[in-house]
Symmetry: C2
Subunit: 435 residues, 2 copies
């Protein structure tokens, strides 16, 4: 173990040892769900260092002893397959749970017995993570200006790159919730309709299979149908964040998307990272977004418009390149419309959000080619192949490729990480599976 | 066994009296959910004549005594808030439940005691219906050629009315599941961004509020992610149908929908009728669809492509016109792409359907102006107002208007009806609710 040496460090000290580069220090306290190998049940959990901690075991043993959780008894929220019951309690409970866990595992803490530790702690590489949240509705936005501009330049040239509505509202569409999968699940290359001449279709495997680097926001509070959320209230509705790969079949999308938007091109899978990193954990990494010009309409106006300084890395392995190679370095700060603005816009016509809903940020690209959030941009529509260190080239994803997203925030003496969001591409099914 | 009887009429005879115009004869046996006023629980139910029948009570008393349900015990499927558990059993169980209910309530049946009848039967106007199915994912298609052609003519002229992809695939988009509401729930007129010049937006109440006449199909079988459904298997996946009003804010849609499709214009509410009319009940009303030209790709090809002969009526009341006035008469047979084709196309890239998913047909318009499925078409984009019998005119919906959809099939001596799908428009919230 590396000693986290520095005197100037403000890092918390834990009874579970980890070094300062570990992505799960006491400052993080992410929430997730895992298969408890003793119980053979799915329980809610957190992670500290390299240990996954079963929160249901702590709860059963009365260790959530703050005033709010004490009043909640005998109701339990962590002995569940998903975090939704916990999320539904609201932000005061989220805070109390976080502080309780930080105190339980603080260096020198004696609140938690050896016996309970032996039941509640698991090596992270010995357990299987599960989908952390039941996501009833999933919405994907399109709110990075660099990304929208790049795509616009490719399709319409630089003078008309942004559509007329883009600077006035966070463009979004409803996505498919059922096909959201957890990091690690393999992705079968889709097959569907494509059309080179935009007239006659072919039935073909996707030849322009892409990733989209996104951050997902989990809704932690519901609003009533017909009752819009105000921008000042929006932060209360955001429980936390994950990494999101909105896999995209570009050739299928190009043929199908007029006039009602992407459908088969997106609904075959979207991958999420296993942990929910809370808004509270990211608080020190808040970063003010630039003033929006033109000024948005009043309902979207936010004096305090922010995103977070989360470094986002995209890495690739292939059948022959086994060491992950970084193909993009972006950041969650490259947003034009904030999560709060997206959420408010979602409800403006009265749409009701439920606890557990997922809002995708949209592909996040930096201004530099080294930080583009999709292969469509990196290879500039397939015209400028990316060279890999072993001599391979890529325009779009090949069978056997594994795409990995990572996110992290550098604090003073600690790092908050998101956990990998990865998926490997399997070959398309042959035609006999279709008719 | 059920006798399909006799001389002039083939109608079944029931121990619950009803006349031949009643929409809920023994030939129907719809499934729904209602608040049982004795228990104060939501249970699954059916309807016969003017009686709502609590299926949980029948199940508790061992009256589902066919071989499949007998083997199922002690598991119960009707003592639930939604039909999903029942639907998940599959089509052999759907059939057995239907036949069991038809036999229990056949004329002369003595299988069901007076005591149970008194506990299980309720006057339909004395009980509150509930959302019949938990809908996790909702997809809306755009599959009536007459409708797509009308909209295309308005926006692009007759020569380019259909987009290039329209005759090759059932265009669809993912909708918002959370805001699906039951018939009778009032609809708050949405407020949002509109732009007359397609350049500068206003924050305005919707001034072009419309309905869309659709039929919804409930998925009754799930497919695994990555495993497409073949057209020959598709009928097993369709449990039944409802009426669906896909409320649409045309002015909001016009500004927001490029390039990712409708969002706020649709997500404020969609109304469903309370009953699920099973595919089995509609079997006698199957109607072969015309041969498709150009021929679809193999995966969509169906020698036996069908819809159903369901008359669809749209009626309107206003603050001063209290007698419902018929503003459109269409039919579910006016489909180009069938429900089976929509379902197969949905899964072609590997998307997984879940039991309870709802597939909207898309607005169903006949070839005649008297059978258009939206006010956009009826008033031809607002240029040809509709005259009501009391002298009022309508281009789009006004506050206080109630829009009612009805569906029915005329059999030999009986009628199968869907139950009303209605909603009344309330005024928009004032701006103080938004910021
Ligand atoms: Ca996306
Ligand atoms: Ca529609
Ligand atoms: Mg996706
Ligand atoms: Mg709708
Ligand atoms: Ni357990």
């Amino acid at each position: 173990m590396v000693e986290s040496s520095s005197n100037s460090s403000t890092a918390l000290k834990s009874l579970i040892p980890y070094d300062e580069n570990n992505h799960f220090p006491l400052e993080n306290i992410p929430f997730g769900a895992f298969q408890n190998p003793h119980h053979n049940h799915v329980h809610c959990c957190t992670r500290i260092g390299d240990k996954v901690v079963d929160l249901a075991i702590l709860e059963q043993n009365g260790l959530f002893d703050g005033p709010l959780f004490t009043q909640l008894r005998p109701k339990v929220v962590f002995e569940h397959h998903h975090l939704n019951s916990f999320m539904d309690l609201g932000k005061d409970y989220w805070h109390e749970a976080r502080v309780t866990i930080q105190n339980l595992f603080a260096e020198g803490s004696t609140k938690i017995s050896e016996e309970i530790l032996s039941k509640a702690l698991f090596d992270h590489d010995q357990v299987q993570m599960k989908t952390p949240v039941f996501i009833r509705d999933y919405t994907d936005f399109y709110s990075s200006k660099n990304h929208a501009y790049n795509v616009g330049v490719m399709f319409r040239g630089p003078d008309n790159a942004l559509q007329p509505n883009w600077l006035h509202l966070p463009v979004g569409y409803h996505g498919r919730a059922s096909s959201i999968v957890l990091s690690g699940q393999e992705i079968v290359r889709p097959r569907g309709q494509t059309s080179a001449d935009q007239k006659n279709p072919n039935f073909s495997e996707c030849k322009r299979l892409d990733f989209e680097l996104e951050v997902g926001a989990y809704v932690g509070k519901s609003n009533q149908l017909g009752k819009p959320v105000k921008i000042s209230e929006a932060p209360d509705y955001v429980f936390g964040f994950c990494l999101l790969n909105d896999w995209s079949a570009r050739d299928i999308q190009a043929w199908e998307y007029v006039p009602l938007g992407p459908f088969n091109a997106k609904n075959f899978a979207s991958t999420i990272s296993p942990w929910v990193i809370t808004a509270e954990a990211l608080e020190p990494f808040k970063i003010k977004l630039p003033v929006q010009e033109p000024a948005p309409l009043n309902y979207l106006k936010d004096e305090n418009n922010y995103s977070y300084d989360v470094e986002l890395d995209v890495l690739l392995t292939t059948n022959t390149l086994t060491e992950p190679y970084t193909i993009s370095k972006s950041n969650f700060k490259h947003m034009y419309w904030s999560t709060n603005q997206q959420l408010v816009h979602h409800t403006v016509t009265g749409c009701n959000l439920n606890v557990g809903d997922l809002l995708g940020s949209g592909t996040i690209s930096s201004t530099e080619k080294s930080g583009y959030g999709s292969l469509l941009e990196i290879s500039w529509g397939g015209k400028e192949p990316l060279s890999l260190p072993n001599g391979e080239q890529r325009t779009f994803l090949q069978d056997g490729d594994t795409l990995i997203m990572r996110g992290s925030c550098k604090g003073n003496g600690f790092t908050i990480g998101f956990g990998d969001c990865s998926g490997k591409i399997l070959p398309a099914l042959d035609e006999s599976n279709f008719y």
